[in-house]
Subunit: 396 residues, 2 copies
C-alpha cells in the first residue's frame, strides 16, 4: 500500500461564516515513527468545534482553513515503524490530543495531557515539525500512538462494521457504545471524578446538562456517587447579588425536560438556580463538575454549596472570563475552583473499563457528516440530546 | 470574685481615622455556659486589623466602634459552668474565631472553622444573642471554650510570667515561642499545608513574605518541604500579558533584603516575578501559599508554576477581586485556586506540637499596646519584620 499523505475533510475557511463547510483535500502531517494513521468512520461534534470555528477561542492556527472533530472512531490504515500497540485494521479511537513530547515529567507520569513542552491538539494545533493538525470531520487523522485507543472487546467486529457503515437497525445503541470512546466529552468529565476519588457515597454536583454534563452524570452515577444536577438560564442569570435570577417561562419548560432526562440518567436531585437554592444546598457537595460553556452563572452561590475544601471543576470552556472571585468568596468553605484538560491514557483505559463494566450508554443522535452545520447549530442552541455523532460520508 | 461584664480596649471609631486609637470601656458579650473569659497579656497585629479598621473589608458591625486584635495570649479569669478544659489562671490563646454553632456537620467534624450556621469572628462579629464581639487590643476577651487553646508545656510558668509582664531580657525569644499560639497567621498558613499533605519532598511556593508568608515558610520547612519564596512589586505589577513587570529599583533592594530573610527562614529558592520567571518554574510546585494582601500580582503566570492538579491557596485577603480567571487558564495544568479560613482545634493542636517538636521561632518585634497605630502602619507599609506583638499596658 502506498503511503497516505493527504486527507479530505469538511473545512471552514472563515470564522465569520462558520457553518459553511466545504470538502477540501489537504496534507496530513508528515508521518513520524510513532504515528498511527486512522481512517475516520464516525466523529462526535463537541462544543470545542463550535467555539473554534466561530473564532470564540481566538484565531485559527492554519491561515486558511480548519477541520474540526476530536471524538473519532475509525480504523488504523497505516502505522509508523515504532508503533507496536496497533496494526492496520484495528478499530480505534482518537480524542482531543494527538501528540506530546513524550519525554517530560508529565509525559512520563501519566499526565501527558498536561505536557507543556509540545502538546498538540487533534485539530487547530501545530506539530513541532511545523505541520498543522486537522480533525475528524474528514477521511483521515494522524496521531501519536499514545493518543490512539483500542476499542473494548465487548463490541464485536461484526457489530462495529454495521455501526461504522451506519446501516444497522441497531445502529443507535451500538454507536452509543462505541461513542464511549469519544475521548473529549467522556474523559473530560471522567478525569476529575477519578482524580478526586469520587466513589460510593460521594456527593457530586453537575452544572449544566449538555454533552459534557450528561457524561458527568452517567459516570458519577456509575462510580456510586449521589448526583445533583443543576441547570440555569444561560445568559439570563445575573451575578452575583440579585436574590432571584430572572428565569423566564421558556426556561422553566427547558428545565422540566432536562429534569426528566437527568433523573433517567441516574441523578438523584435536580435544582434550578433560583431563589434560595444556594442556602438550601450549602456545604452539601464534595465536588461540582461545571460543564457550562457560558460564564454567566451564579458562581459565588454555587461555590457555597461545596463542603470544606470541596472542588468546583469548571470543565466547560466559556469564551469569556469567569465571574469575579476573591479570597473572601473562597474562604467561607475553603473551596477550590479549577479546570481540567481531557485525561491520560491510563484514565481513558479506566473509563473504558468502567463503561464496559457498568454498561453505560450515552445519549446520542446521529447524522451524516455532511450535516455538520446542523450538528454545530444543535450544540450552539443547546438542542443536542446530548451528543451528535457524524457518520462518515465523504468516501461514499 | 464578682462576674466580669466589661472590658477596656483601644478602639477605633471611624474607618476614615483608623489610626486614632482611644481607650474605651465596653460590655463583653453576656456569659454563656461554654464561655471562657481571658485577660489579655499580649496580642499580635494582623493584616486583618488594618483591613477592618480602614473599612477595606466593608463597614463595621458595631455602629460606633471596633476593637481589633485576634492573636491573643492571656490568662483565664472566668469560666462558664460547662467549661471543663480550662480553669481560672490557665495561660491560653485565642485566635480569629470566638464561636460557632457547635452542632452542624462542620462543627462535629473538625471543621468548626467552616461552620456556616453561626460562626463568630473574634472581633467585628455578632453573637446569636445580638451581642457584638470585640478583640484583643483590650483587657478582656470572651470566647467559647472550643476556640480557646492551651499553651504548650515547653514554656514554664515562670518564663510566661516574665513574658507576659514584658520585663524579661529574654522577652523576645519567649514571646516568640508564645506567639506561635497566635491563631490567625500561624494556623492560616499551616492549615492548607496540613490539609494538602505537605511533607518530606513536597515543593511549596510562598508568595509574599510578610506575617503570613514567613509562617508559611517556617512551617513548610518544618514539615520537610522544599520551599520557594516569590515576592513581587506590589501595585506595580500589571496583569497578565506584559512580558516584563515594571519593578523599580526600590523594589529590588526590598527584594534583596527579603531574600536574605527567606533563606534564613529555611527557604531554598527565592524568585522575583520578573521576566521569564514563570517559564523557568513551569509545573514545578505542588502547592503555592499566596499571602499577598494586594491582588495586583501575575496570577496567571504563578498558576503555571503548579504541577498538574496543584493548588494555589490565596490566604491573603485583598480588598479587591483577584485578577480575572477563565477555564483555559486553569486547564493548562488542571490547577486549582482557593482560599482557606484559619484552622480547626485539631489542626491548631497539631501545629503547636509541630512548633514544639521543631523549635520553630517566628520573627517578631514587640511594642506596648499603646503603639497600636504604629503597629498598624508597619503592617500597612510592609515594614513589619515579620509580625508585631502588642504588650498589654492598659492595666499598668
Amino acid at each position: 500500500m502506498s503511503s497516505i499523505t493527504t486527507s479530505r475533510g469538511y473545512a471552514i475557511h472563515d470564522t465569520k461564516d462558520y457553518k459553511n463547510f466545504k470538502v477540501i483535500e489537504y496534507p496530513l502531517k508528515k508521518e513520524e515513527a510513532d504515528d498511527v494513521t486512522v481512517h475516520v468512520d464516525v466523529c462526535g461534534t463537541c462544543g470545542s468545534d463550535h467555539h473554534t470555528i466561530s473564532g470564540g477561542w481566538g484565531p485559527l492556527t492554519h491561515p486558511e482553513y480548519i477541520i474540526t472533530g476530536h471524538e473519532i472512531v475509525g480504523k488504523v490504515v497505516q502505522v509508523g515503524p515504532n508503533v507496536k500497540e496497533f496494526k492496520v485494521g484495528d478499530r480505534v479511537g482518537i480524542g482531543a490530543q494527538a501528540g506530546s513530547c513524550g519525554k517530560c515529567k508529565e509525559c512520563q507520569n501519566d499526565n501527558e495531557n498536561y505536557c507543556s513542552v509540545s502538546p498538540v491538539d487533534t485539530y487547530n494545533g501545530k506539530w513541532p515539525s511545523g505541520d498543522y493538525s486537522q480533525g475528524g470531520y474528514s477521511t483521515h487523522v494522524r496521531a501519536q500512538q499514545k493518543f490512539v485507543f483500542h476499542l473494548p472487546e465487548q463490541i464485536t467486529s461484526e457489530d462495529a462494521a454495521s455501526i461504522l457503515l451506519g446501516k444497522s437497525s441497531r445502529e443507535h445503541n451500538l454507536i452509543a457504545s462505541v461513542h464511549l470512546f469519544r475521548l473529549c466529552a467522556g474523559i473530560t468529565s471522567c478525569s476529575p471524578l477519578f482524580r478526586n476519588n469520587v466513589g460510593q457515597g460521594s456527593k457530586v454536583g453537575v452544572v449544566g446538562l449538555g454533552g459534557l454534563g450528561h457524561y458527568a452524570v452517567l459516570f458519577a452515577v456509575a462510580l456510586g456517587a449521589e448526583v445533583t444536577v443543576s441547570i440555569f438560564a444561560k445568559k439570563q442569570c445575573h451575578l452575583p447579588f440579585s436574590p432571584v435570577y430572572p428565569i423566564f417561562e421558556q426556561v422553566f419548560s427547558h428545565s422540566e425536560r432536562k429534569k426528566d432526562d437527568a433523573l433517567k440518567m441516574g441523578a438523584k436531585h435536580f435544582v434550578t438556580t433560583t431563589g434560595d437554592f444556594a442556602k438550601d444546598h450549602a456545604l452539601s457537595l464534595d465536588i461540582i463538575i461545571c460543564t457550562a460553556s457560558n460564564a454567566s452563572l451564579p458562581l459565588n452561590e454555587l461555590i457555597t454549596c461545596l463542603v470544606p475544601q470541596g472542588k468546583f471543576v469548571w470543565n466547560g470552556m466559556p469564551e469569556t472570563d469567569w465571574p469575579a472571585l476573591r479570597s473572601q468568596t473562597m474562604a467561607g468553605n475553603g473551596a477550590f475552583i479549577g479546570s481540567s484538560h481531557i485525561g491520560s491514557k491510563a484514565e481513558i483505559t479506566r473509563m473504558l473499563q468502567l463503561a464496559a463494566d457498568k454498561n453505560i450508554k450515552p445519549w446520542i443522535t446521529t447524522r451524516p457528516m455532511k450535516e455538520a452545520a446542523q450538528s454545530i447549530e444543535d450544540v450552539e442552541t443547546g438542542r443536542a440530546r446530548y451528543r451528535t455523532i457524524l457518520i462518515q460520508d465523504i468516501d461514499q
